[in-house]
Protein backbone atom coordinates (compact mmCIF):
# COMPACT_ATOMS: atom_id res chain seq x y z
CA UNK A 1 0.00 0.00 0.00
CA UNK A 2 1.23 3.48 -0.86
CA UNK A 3 2.39 5.50 2.12
CA UNK A 4 0.06 8.51 2.21
CA UNK A 5 1.41 11.90 3.11
CA UNK A 6 0.89 15.56 2.28
CA UNK A 7 3.28 18.46 2.45
CA UNK A 8 1.98 22.01 2.10
CA UNK A 9 4.13 24.87 0.90
CA UNK A 10 3.85 28.39 -0.46
CA UNK A 11 6.36 30.23 -2.61
CA UNK A 12 6.37 33.58 -4.41
CA UNK A 13 8.31 34.58 -7.52
CA UNK A 14 8.53 38.21 -8.64
CA UNK A 15 9.83 39.32 -12.03
CA UNK A 16 9.90 42.58 -13.92
CA UNK A 17 9.49 42.45 -17.71
CA UNK A 18 10.28 45.15 -20.28
CA UNK A 19 6.81 44.80 -21.81
CA UNK A 20 3.46 46.31 -20.77
CA UNK A 21 0.90 44.27 -18.75
CA UNK A 22 -1.37 43.77 -21.77
CA UNK A 23 1.45 42.06 -23.68
CA UNK A 24 2.49 39.85 -20.76
CA UNK A 25 -1.14 38.92 -20.11
CA UNK A 26 -1.59 38.06 -23.80
CA UNK A 27 1.31 35.61 -23.51
CA UNK A 28 -0.94 33.67 -21.08
CA UNK A 29 -4.27 34.14 -22.83
CA UNK A 30 -3.37 33.18 -26.40
CA UNK A 31 -2.66 29.50 -26.97
CA UNK A 32 -0.04 29.95 -29.71
CA UNK A 33 1.79 32.52 -27.56
CA UNK A 34 1.66 30.42 -24.43
CA UNK A 35 2.92 27.37 -26.30
CA UNK A 36 6.08 29.35 -27.12
CA UNK A 37 7.23 29.74 -23.51
CA UNK A 38 5.19 27.34 -21.32
CA UNK A 39 7.31 24.31 -22.15
CA UNK A 40 9.72 22.03 -20.31
CA UNK A 41 13.51 22.24 -20.43
CA UNK A 42 15.51 21.95 -23.66
CA UNK A 43 15.60 18.38 -24.95
CA UNK A 44 12.27 17.26 -23.47
CA UNK A 45 9.70 15.55 -25.62
CA UNK A 46 6.55 17.65 -25.73
CA UNK A 47 2.84 17.33 -26.39
CA UNK A 48 0.60 20.06 -27.80
CA UNK A 49 -0.62 22.63 -25.30
CA UNK A 50 -4.41 22.68 -25.03
CA UNK A 51 -5.84 25.88 -23.61
CA UNK A 52 -9.40 27.07 -23.05
CA UNK A 53 -8.66 30.42 -21.45
CA UNK A 54 -11.85 31.34 -19.58
CA UNK A 55 -13.16 30.86 -16.04
CA UNK A 56 -13.92 27.15 -15.73
CA UNK A 57 -11.80 26.37 -18.81
CA UNK A 58 -9.14 23.66 -18.88
CA UNK A 59 -5.50 23.61 -19.91
CA UNK A 60 -3.19 20.65 -20.36
CA UNK A 61 0.28 19.87 -21.60
CA UNK A 62 2.71 17.02 -21.03
CA UNK A 63 6.35 16.31 -21.65
CA UNK A 64 9.46 14.71 -20.28
CA UNK A 65 12.98 13.59 -20.97
CA UNK A 66 13.34 10.97 -23.75
CA UNK A 67 12.66 7.56 -22.21
CA UNK A 68 11.90 9.18 -18.84
CA UNK A 69 8.63 9.68 -16.98
CA UNK A 70 5.91 11.81 -18.57
CA UNK A 71 5.09 14.99 -16.64
CA UNK A 72 1.47 16.01 -17.18
CA UNK A 73 0.03 19.39 -16.21
CA UNK A 74 -3.76 19.84 -15.95
CA UNK A 75 -5.17 23.21 -14.96
CA UNK A 76 -8.55 24.84 -14.47
CA UNK A 77 -9.00 28.61 -14.57
CA UNK A 78 -10.71 29.93 -11.44
CA UNK A 79 -10.61 33.73 -11.83
CA UNK A 80 -9.47 35.98 -14.68
CA UNK A 81 -9.23 39.77 -14.70
CA UNK A 82 -7.84 40.83 -18.12
CA UNK A 83 -4.35 42.41 -17.94
CA UNK A 84 -4.42 42.15 -14.13
CA UNK A 85 -4.87 38.69 -12.63
CA UNK A 86 -5.14 34.98 -13.30
CA UNK A 87 -6.02 32.43 -10.60
CA UNK A 88 -5.91 28.74 -11.47
CA UNK A 89 -5.59 25.36 -9.85
CA UNK A 90 -3.45 22.66 -11.40
CA UNK A 91 -2.39 19.13 -10.77
CA UNK A 92 0.83 17.42 -11.85
CA UNK A 93 1.11 13.76 -12.72
CA UNK A 94 4.33 11.79 -13.12
CA UNK A 95 3.24 9.02 -15.48
CA UNK A 96 -0.01 7.84 -13.80
CA UNK A 97 0.76 9.17 -10.31
CA UNK A 98 -0.68 12.47 -9.09
CA UNK A 99 2.21 14.17 -7.32
CA UNK A 100 0.80 17.58 -6.42
CA UNK A 101 -2.13 19.95 -6.55
CA UNK A 102 -1.58 23.71 -6.55
CA UNK A 103 -3.38 27.03 -6.38
CA UNK A 104 -1.52 29.58 -8.52
CA UNK A 105 -2.16 33.33 -8.50
CA UNK A 106 -0.48 35.51 -11.13
CA UNK A 107 -0.71 39.28 -10.69
CA UNK A 108 0.32 41.71 -13.43
CA UNK A 109 1.17 45.24 -12.25
CA UNK A 110 2.39 48.21 -14.27
CA UNK A 111 6.01 49.11 -13.49
CA UNK A 112 7.03 52.16 -15.52
CA UNK A 113 6.56 51.06 -19.14
CA UNK A 114 6.99 47.42 -18.10
CA UNK A 115 5.26 44.87 -15.90
CA UNK A 116 5.94 43.54 -12.46
CA UNK A 117 4.64 39.98 -12.29
CA UNK A 118 4.00 38.38 -8.90
CA UNK A 119 3.31 34.65 -8.95
CA UNK A 120 2.23 32.96 -5.73
CA UNK A 121 1.90 29.19 -5.62
CA UNK A 122 0.19 27.43 -2.71
CA UNK A 123 0.86 23.74 -3.21
CA UNK A 124 0.21 20.41 -1.60
CA UNK A 125 2.74 17.71 -2.51
CA UNK A 126 1.30 14.21 -2.28
CA UNK A 127 2.82 11.00 -0.94
CA UNK A 128 6.41 12.25 -0.82
CA UNK A 129 6.64 13.30 -4.48
CA UNK A 130 8.37 16.48 -5.57
CA UNK A 131 8.98 19.35 -3.18
CA UNK A 132 8.65 23.11 -3.06
CA UNK A 133 12.34 23.72 -3.85
CA UNK A 134 12.35 21.91 -7.16
CA UNK A 135 8.90 23.26 -8.08
CA UNK A 136 10.05 26.82 -7.44
CA UNK A 137 13.17 26.23 -9.53
CA UNK A 138 11.15 24.72 -12.40
CA UNK A 139 8.64 27.56 -12.29
CA UNK A 140 11.47 30.11 -12.31
CA UNK A 141 12.73 28.51 -15.53
CA UNK A 142 9.30 29.11 -17.11
CA UNK A 143 9.48 32.80 -16.22
CA UNK A 144 12.94 33.03 -17.85
CA UNK A 145 11.32 31.66 -21.02
CA UNK A 146 8.38 34.07 -20.64
CA UNK A 147 10.81 37.02 -20.32
CA UNK A 148 12.62 36.02 -23.53
CA UNK A 149 9.30 35.65 -25.34
CA UNK A 150 7.64 38.95 -24.32
CA UNK A 151 10.81 41.04 -24.56
CA UNK A 152 11.68 39.95 -28.12
CA UNK A 153 8.23 40.86 -29.50
Amino acid sequence: MTERSTKHATFTIERTFAAPPARVFAAYADVSSKARWFVGPEGWEKSNLRLDFKVGGHESVSGGPPGGPVHTYNAIYQDIVPDERIVLTYEMHLDKTRISVSLGTTEFKPAGSGTRLVYTEQAVFLDGHDDAGSREQGTGGLFDQLARFVEMQ
Binding site: D79, V87, E91, V124
Partner: protein, 158 residues
Protein backbone atom coordinates in the same frame (compact mmCIF):
# COMPACT_ATOMS: atom_id res chain seq x y z
CA UNK B 1 -13.05 50.35 -11.05
CA UNK B 2 -12.43 47.63 -8.50
CA UNK B 3 -9.09 47.86 -6.72
CA UNK B 4 -7.55 44.47 -7.39
CA UNK B 5 -6.08 42.71 -4.41
CA UNK B 6 -4.92 39.15 -3.73
CA UNK B 7 -4.23 38.17 -0.13
CA UNK B 8 -2.85 34.69 0.47
CA UNK B 9 -3.22 32.66 3.63
CA UNK B 10 -3.18 29.17 5.06
CA UNK B 11 -5.69 27.95 7.64
CA UNK B 12 -5.03 24.83 9.69
CA UNK B 13 -7.72 23.23 11.86
CA UNK B 14 -7.73 19.96 13.74
CA UNK B 15 -10.55 17.98 15.35
CA UNK B 16 -10.84 14.61 17.08
CA UNK B 17 -14.13 12.79 16.57
CA UNK B 18 -15.53 9.81 18.47
CA UNK B 19 -16.37 7.99 15.25
CA UNK B 20 -14.29 5.78 12.97
CA UNK B 21 -12.60 7.24 9.85
CA UNK B 22 -15.17 5.51 7.62
CA UNK B 23 -17.96 7.50 9.29
CA UNK B 24 -16.08 10.77 9.11
CA UNK B 25 -15.25 10.16 5.44
CA UNK B 26 -18.94 9.43 4.80
CA UNK B 27 -19.81 12.84 6.27
CA UNK B 28 -18.10 14.29 3.18
CA UNK B 29 -18.87 11.58 0.63
CA UNK B 30 -22.59 11.04 1.20
CA UNK B 31 -24.99 13.82 0.16
CA UNK B 32 -27.43 13.28 3.06
CA UNK B 33 -24.64 13.31 5.63
CA UNK B 34 -22.95 16.36 4.12
CA UNK B 35 -26.17 18.37 3.90
CA UNK B 36 -26.25 18.33 7.72
CA UNK B 37 -23.15 20.46 8.17
CA UNK B 38 -21.96 22.00 4.88
CA UNK B 39 -22.65 25.65 5.75
CA UNK B 40 -21.30 27.76 8.63
CA UNK B 41 -23.34 28.62 11.72
CA UNK B 42 -26.98 29.45 11.05
CA UNK B 43 -26.55 30.12 7.34
CA UNK B 44 -28.62 28.10 4.90
CA UNK B 45 -28.00 26.18 1.69
CA UNK B 46 -30.42 27.40 -0.99
CA UNK B 47 -29.26 25.01 -3.73
CA UNK B 48 -26.66 22.27 -3.87
CA UNK B 49 -25.45 19.67 -6.35
CA UNK B 50 -23.35 16.60 -5.44
CA UNK B 51 -20.66 14.89 -7.50
CA UNK B 52 -18.18 13.40 -5.04
CA UNK B 53 -15.53 11.74 -7.21
CA UNK B 54 -12.15 12.77 -8.61
CA UNK B 55 -12.92 15.31 -11.32
CA UNK B 56 -16.44 15.84 -9.97
CA UNK B 57 -17.79 19.38 -9.75
CA UNK B 58 -20.38 20.69 -7.30
CA UNK B 59 -22.21 23.98 -7.02
CA UNK B 60 -23.66 25.31 -3.79
CA UNK B 61 -25.57 28.55 -3.25
CA UNK B 62 -25.68 29.57 0.37
CA UNK B 63 -25.59 32.42 2.86
CA UNK B 64 -27.84 34.15 5.39
CA UNK B 65 -31.45 32.91 5.15
CA UNK B 66 -32.77 36.16 3.68
CA UNK B 67 -29.84 36.60 1.27
CA UNK B 68 -28.08 33.39 0.13
CA UNK B 69 -25.77 35.35 -2.19
CA UNK B 70 -22.67 33.16 -2.17
CA UNK B 71 -21.87 30.47 -4.72
CA UNK B 72 -19.14 27.87 -4.11
CA UNK B 73 -17.89 26.04 -7.21
CA UNK B 74 -16.06 22.94 -5.99
CA UNK B 75 -13.84 20.53 -7.90
CA UNK B 76 -12.60 17.28 -6.34
CA UNK B 77 -8.94 16.75 -7.22
CA UNK B 78 -7.71 13.79 -5.16
CA UNK B 79 -9.71 11.31 -3.10
CA UNK B 80 -8.27 8.44 -1.05
CA UNK B 81 -11.23 6.74 0.69
CA UNK B 82 -11.17 7.16 4.48
CA UNK B 83 -7.82 8.94 4.29
CA UNK B 84 -7.74 12.09 2.21
CA UNK B 85 -9.82 14.54 0.18
CA UNK B 86 -8.24 17.37 -1.81
CA UNK B 87 -10.56 19.84 -3.50
CA UNK B 88 -10.59 23.37 -4.83
CA UNK B 89 -13.42 25.82 -4.59
CA UNK B 90 -13.96 29.31 -5.84
CA UNK B 91 -16.41 31.51 -4.03
CA UNK B 92 -18.33 34.37 -5.57
CA UNK B 93 -20.92 36.79 -4.18
CA UNK B 94 -23.47 37.86 -6.79
CA UNK B 95 -20.90 36.99 -9.44
CA UNK B 96 -18.04 38.98 -7.88
CA UNK B 97 -14.95 36.98 -6.89
CA UNK B 98 -14.48 36.43 -3.14
CA UNK B 99 -11.78 33.74 -2.90
CA UNK B 100 -10.24 30.62 -4.38
CA UNK B 101 -9.18 27.78 -2.07
CA UNK B 102 -7.23 24.56 -2.21
CA UNK B 103 -8.36 22.43 0.71
CA UNK B 104 -6.83 19.23 2.04
CA UNK B 105 -8.75 17.09 4.53
CA UNK B 106 -6.81 14.24 6.11
CA UNK B 107 -8.33 11.58 8.35
CA UNK B 108 -6.36 9.18 10.53
CA UNK B 109 -7.41 6.66 13.18
CA UNK B 110 -7.19 7.98 16.75
CA UNK B 111 -8.00 5.08 19.09
CA UNK B 112 -11.56 4.12 18.14
CA UNK B 113 -12.12 7.60 16.76
CA UNK B 114 -10.67 9.86 14.07
CA UNK B 115 -8.28 12.74 13.98
CA UNK B 116 -9.15 15.16 11.19
CA UNK B 117 -6.75 17.77 9.88
CA UNK B 118 -8.02 20.44 7.49
CA UNK B 119 -5.55 22.68 5.70
CA UNK B 120 -7.00 25.40 3.50
CA UNK B 121 -4.63 27.34 1.23
CA UNK B 122 -6.58 30.34 0.07
CA UNK B 123 -6.36 33.56 -1.86
CA UNK B 124 -8.86 36.26 -0.87
CA UNK B 125 -9.72 38.49 -3.81
CA UNK B 126 -10.33 42.24 -3.82
CA UNK B 127 -10.78 42.42 -0.05
CA UNK B 128 -14.08 40.52 -0.11
CA UNK B 129 -13.22 38.17 2.76
CA UNK B 130 -10.40 37.56 5.21
CA UNK B 131 -8.58 34.78 6.98
CA UNK B 132 -10.17 35.25 10.45
CA UNK B 133 -13.68 35.15 9.01
CA UNK B 134 -12.97 32.10 6.83
CA UNK B 135 -11.36 30.26 9.72
CA UNK B 136 -14.40 30.91 11.89
CA UNK B 137 -16.68 29.53 9.15
CA UNK B 138 -14.61 26.39 8.64
CA UNK B 139 -14.34 25.79 12.40
CA UNK B 140 -18.12 26.02 12.66
CA UNK B 141 -18.56 23.40 9.94
CA UNK B 142 -16.04 21.01 11.54
CA UNK B 143 -17.91 21.35 14.85
CA UNK B 144 -21.17 20.55 13.05
CA UNK B 145 -19.57 17.40 11.60
CA UNK B 146 -18.87 16.30 15.18
CA UNK B 147 -22.50 16.96 16.16
CA UNK B 148 -23.77 15.04 13.11
CA UNK B 149 -21.73 11.89 13.78
CA UNK B 150 -22.94 8.96 15.88
CA UNK B 151 -21.35 9.41 19.29
CA UNK B 152 -20.77 5.71 20.00
CA UNK B 153 -17.28 4.58 19.06
CA UNK B 154 -17.30 1.37 16.97
CA UNK B 155 -15.37 -0.61 19.61
CA UNK B 156 -18.29 -0.44 22.08
CA UNK B 157 -20.93 -1.64 19.59
CA UNK B 158 -20.48 -5.37 19.89
Amino acid sequence: MTARLAQHGTIRLERCYKAAPARVFAAWAEPKARAQWDVPGRWVIAEQTFDFREGGRELKRFGPKDDPRFVADTLYLDIVPQRRIVFSYSMTSRGEPVSVSLTTVEMSPDGAGTRLLLIEQVVFLDGKDNQANREEGLASMLDKIGESLPQTPPSSRA
